[in-house]
């Protein structure tokens, strides 16, 4: 694919024209000194993460420091194991809950091993109404209903 940089005014119209434009933009030269500036930026950038350094006397490379570290590891492992060992109680009798002996029923249903059976709660009792009083109440109720009906009829007639 060739690009005529000397004649940037494209005569073609359509996708070729668009691609030619993109090719021209994509082939533009980089500014001078780009590489030098990037080298300078890379040189100024921090090369390593900042870490805490050991003091010279405590460098891990020194022999006595290694010995001390190994001793510390052994001490921690052995001490931890001993601590666990002393805290675990051995040959301790287990707690046993003594259950009452099961009484076998002579026949029929069994209590399914229940130790105590709850008492039955008494159910609700309907109030007892005497038949004479009930008849009087009904008559009184019917009378009040008839009186109320008469009042309503009279009111309706009055409105008319």
């Amino acid at each position: 694919m060739t690009t005529d940089h000397h004649n940037p005014n494209p005569s073609a119209r359509g996708p070729e024209s668009a691609e030619e434009t993109l090719r021209i933009v994509a082939s533009l030269p980089a500014p001078e000194g780009l590489e030098d500036r990037i080298h300078a930026a890379l040189g100024a950038a921090p090369r390593h993460a900042r870490v805490l350094r050991w003091p010279t006397a405590l460098k891990p490379q020194s022999n006595w420091m290694r010995t001390a570290a190994a001793a510390a590891i052994v001490f921690v492992v052995v001490g931890g194991g001993w601590g666990v060992y002393t805290r675990v109680e051995q040959n301790r009798p287990a707690k046993v809950i003594v259950m009452p002996p099961r009484i076998a029923s002579p026949g029929g249903f069994s209590g399914a091993g229940a130790v105590r059976t709850p008492e039955t709660i008494p159910g609700p009792a309907a109030p007892q109404v005497s038949p004479v009083k009930d008849g009087k109440k009904r008559a009184a109720k019917a009378g009040s209903k008839a009186a109320k009906k008469d009042t309503v009829t009279a009111q309706g007639a009055g409105q008319k």
Binding site: H6, N7, R13, V25
Partner: protein, 197 residues
């Protein structure tokens, strides 16, 4: 050396690697410098084709190499440095463009006229060419992102469709189909504007 000393030395010896590390660091620096010399221009052009701003493009290239410095331990594992670097700069410029969406577009004709090659043509022709290119680039910006990205990367002569697929993390057939759609869409956009004129 006694047996116990030999066991002790073999068990807990930490190699004194300061010299080796210094040599390794120098090798990595040399490799990095070679990458900068070889690919900085190509990366700049990729960055500029998206950002269309020389300063932003240069910043993006610098950021690319700073990222490489951070991951230089994995430099030996990279199969194709060129595609790897283009992928890094591509992600950086897309991210920058996304973040700078609220800023005004810098695709002005004067900027294009300044950067376009102007040898052997008159000022009027250069202005007309810049105007045309600015218009075409505005049409390219209207394309969907997937099609636009493929179309822009296809403008780089040194990138094959396989390499474009690697940069975008898609298959080669997807690259071809997206490129086909992009060409159709851009033709439609250009035709529509020409007819409306």
């Amino acid at each position: 050396m006694s047996t116990s000393q030999a066991i002790y030395a073999g068990w807990m010896e930490i190699p004194n690697s300061a010299v080796e590390e210094e040599a390794r660091r120098r090798t990595e620096d040399a490799a990095l410098a070679a990458l900068v010399d070889q690919y900085a221009t190509a990366l700049y052009r990729v960055a500029y084709s998206v950002l269309r701003n020389p300063a932003d493009a240069e910043d993006a290239v610098q950021e690319t190499f700073l990222r490489v410095v951070r991951h230089r331990d994995t430099l030996n594992e990279v199969r194709d440095h060129r595609v790897w670097l283009i992928r890094i700069v591509w992600n950086i410029v897309l991210d920058r463009k996304r973040r700078a969406k609220t800023r005004p577009e810098t695709d002005d004709v004067a900027e294009l006229a300044r950067v376009l090659p102007s040898t052997g043509i008159s000022a009027e022709e250069l202005a007309a060419a810049a105007q045309h290119h600015a218009y075409v680039l505005a049409c390219v910006e209207k394309l969907p992102a997937k099609e636009r990205e493929v179309l822009m990367l296809s403008a780089f002569e040194e990138l094959s469709s396989v390499e474009i697929a690697e940069v975008l993390g898609i298959t080669e057939s997807s690259v071809r189909s997206r490129l086909f759609r992009a060409r159709n869409l851009i033709a439609g956009l250009l035709d529509h504007t020409r007819n409306s004129k």
